[in-house]
Symmetry: C3
Subunit: 322 residues, 3 copies
């Protein structure tokens, strides 16, 4: 997949948003700065700007989601877009139409932007390769590949609380192997020149060739958390339990759960993040999740501003290249 | 549950709308008067006012509903709100997230108002206790506890047709025991100083301590309807049949169904109400439901104006107490 | 069903849109001309006009649909209507309410326009017979009876590519018997004075009294396609296979599938249409569907303009007859 070409216009502006790979420091910073300006929109009493007025955003969710779908929908509403929500289970795909035919039919409805979540890695790229010029695709999570808006809202949260990335040590903890969130976060942290990126996981939950990702690998959580500025906990998919990759929930918590005792290993002002939905008592203790170092709910709030930023940058890149 | 404190601002204005209990005559009258002004909005050709422009209303329905969900959605649209509909079955709760975590996540999306229907009594209060200042909760039905907007649209209907409450005799007929609608109606009628409130039901469908509710209890329907001005029929939940609380549908209709013969016992200008959906031939005869004393469809229409009124009062109370 | 009276105001303007039967050449041409003006709206950057501002359109889909439901929703959005989507499976009908009660309750919510798809032939007429003056019904497909907006978008497509109808030969191919689309197309083509209308199908998939429809019947596809200007392929409902009406998918394709070889029998500039969703390799070869004579995706695009046209004509007829 040639991400760089696919995601950017000839002038280097954002055309699709498919993965963090292929984007550079300047674009990621531009997204963060633009999102910063939108936080003031969502804070004020009338939370609307007319940037996407008369544009249509289609939400294509092939996997269930509350948080991501809702924040994309709210972002589009607050930019004044028209929104088409498509429940794919009840759609024409049940009549045997192929995914590509479904896409082309929706495109024929003059949709301006597709927000797509799909269980297959590469699906968002596939869509982007096949849409007409002027139509954009935003990846809301594709298989185990990428979840780039989640990664950018995480970067936004880190920058809000820590101001910069260069002197930070960030630990990502949990099921790295199956996590599109982790994959996108690692790329973003590295592009933003984060001082040190650590991944903390049992060997069975590490991706192959973890050593090529530009991260430090830890199998011991206490060591992995030592003196970090940011802890990002990942959701443990309970179905991994049955696959014999993990001993038990209790044992997992003992080894890789974030308890308040274990949080002491990190810097005293470390922040705790989680993409949600969290399993309390499995990967994170309730007292930590609700504690004053947790910024988990702020991540959700920032997610709307970040998605508004990406959508508005894509629309403005289209204006300059009609 | 300390309803009074929870529902009102320090200045005594409406902050949440959870139950009729805890509200006083002045506030209920204010709702009715405000709704009166909105009936003209919904009658006119362009049915929109900008009162909730830039605000987000989330519809959280844990129980299926057409009438109540649709009228809340239309009320919010006609006030120009942005609306987020959440199908809770496909939401993150399927991933094991707790209700409170779901609420906090939604709240982090800067929702201004939650409309909640939930099968557990007390759920709306629970939500209201946990939301941030500035966020409001509207109860669209919680278990067997309360359905306050339904009660207020019923009060609106009565006032429209009968002008006042003081000299009226009102009979509520049917399964009082399991009805959140009846519970809220009884409170509202008493607060509004209704002349006489009667409940008509078999002993098995009466709530415990019915005598403490400020009502007259009748087990004979002919006596219960005698000379009343208003008849409110309740929906008979068919699942009560299996619980041995009732003999049979036919026998129920014979004893407590509203036939045109039985309607003669009421005043000649009595109005017939029903919260819907009605079981024709079980609790109410078709000819009565479609007859000229029935105001059942008017109730639905007034429901939009009443919900607009409650939403607009809540928004304006927030403005004065930011 | 007295369509003429039901669909038109006393002045002969469009009040409901239920079936092509009962409409005349002038009205169909008016729809096509009005749709022409809306194609420029949907082509421009801000795809919105305020024609339905403050009006409420309810989408009542009792059958699953992506294409039709989405294009109706987009048409209503682009006319600035408020939209209420009703998932009928989760609605009050599950509580045992009759269809007519559901309709009357929705009507009491001051819905201005109902878009209805229902599995029963005649359901849209039934609704139109029972709504109040001022409320309109648009048929989005009723059983095997009619799908008039589909037929009009097909007429629009033909006129766009062929400028007129009088000198054209049009072949409709496939399961005519069970197709509400074919039925509406045949009526529209005849009202618009199409030179020749052919239907091409095996005897088991012909309607009774096909000879009374004003069409030429062909059982041999090569003969049926000879020198036609327009080919309309119909979707083959796979469930017909099991009913012994058809030998096999392979045999069906051999006899009635549109291959590139067979396309040679038509005029060299013939256009290929399909209402979608298409079964590639069953009724139409992929190379034809994606070939340069195919206008299948253009049909989808034109469908929005045609639906905007019908909605706007209905609203303006209401204004003149309040």
């Amino acid at each position: 997949m040639n991400n760089a070409n696919l995601q950017l216009t000839d002038e280097g502006k954002l055309k699709h948003f498919l993965s963090i790979e292929g984007l550079n420091h300047a674009i990621l910073t531009d997204i963060l700065d633009t999102a910063e300006s939108f936080t003031s929109v969502t804070d004020r009493s009338i939370k609307k700007v007319p940037i996407l007025r008369g544009k249509t955003v289609a939400n294509l969710f092939f996997e269930a989601s509350t948080r991501t779908r809702s924040t994309f929908e709210l972002a589009a509403q607050r930019l004044s877009a028209d929104i088409l929500n498509l429940n794919i289970n009840t759609s024409a795909t049940v009549k045997g139409e192929s995914l590509l035919d479904t896409l082309h039919n929706l495109e024929a409805m003059q949709i301006d932007m597709f927000v797509i979540r799909h269980q297959d890695s590469g699906s968002a790229h596939f869509f982007a390769q096949h849409v007409h010029p002027g139509v954009s695709v935003l990846n809301a999570g594709d298989g185990q590949h990428a979840h780039p808006t989640q990664a950018m809202l995480d970067m936004f949260t880190i920058r809000r609380y820590k101001q910069q990335f260069e002197n930070l040590s960030v630990a990502i903890v949990g099921d790295i192997k199956h996590s599109r969130v982790a994959r996108s976060q690692i790329h973003a942290l590295n592009i933003l020149n984060t001082g040190e990126v650590r991944i903390v996981a049992p060997p069975t939950l590490l991706p192959k060739q973890a050593d090529t990702l530009g991260v430090q690998v830890f199998h011991d959580m206490n060591q992995g958390l030592r003196d970090v500025d940011v802890i990002i906990m990942l959701r443990l998919q309970k179905e991994r339990m049955t696959g014999a990759l993990l001993p038990s929930e209790k044992e997992y918590f003992r080894q890789f759960g974030l308890s308040s005792e274990r949080l002491q290993f990190a810097k005293h002002d470390a922040i705790v993040m989680h993409p949600g939905p969290a399993n309390r008592g499995i990967e994170i203790e309730s007292s930590v999740m609700d504690g004053n170092q947790s910024v988990i709910l702020q991540q959700v709030t920032f997610g709307i501003a970040v998605r508004m930023a990406v959508m508005s940058m894509i629309v403005s890149s289209g204006k300059e290249n009609p």
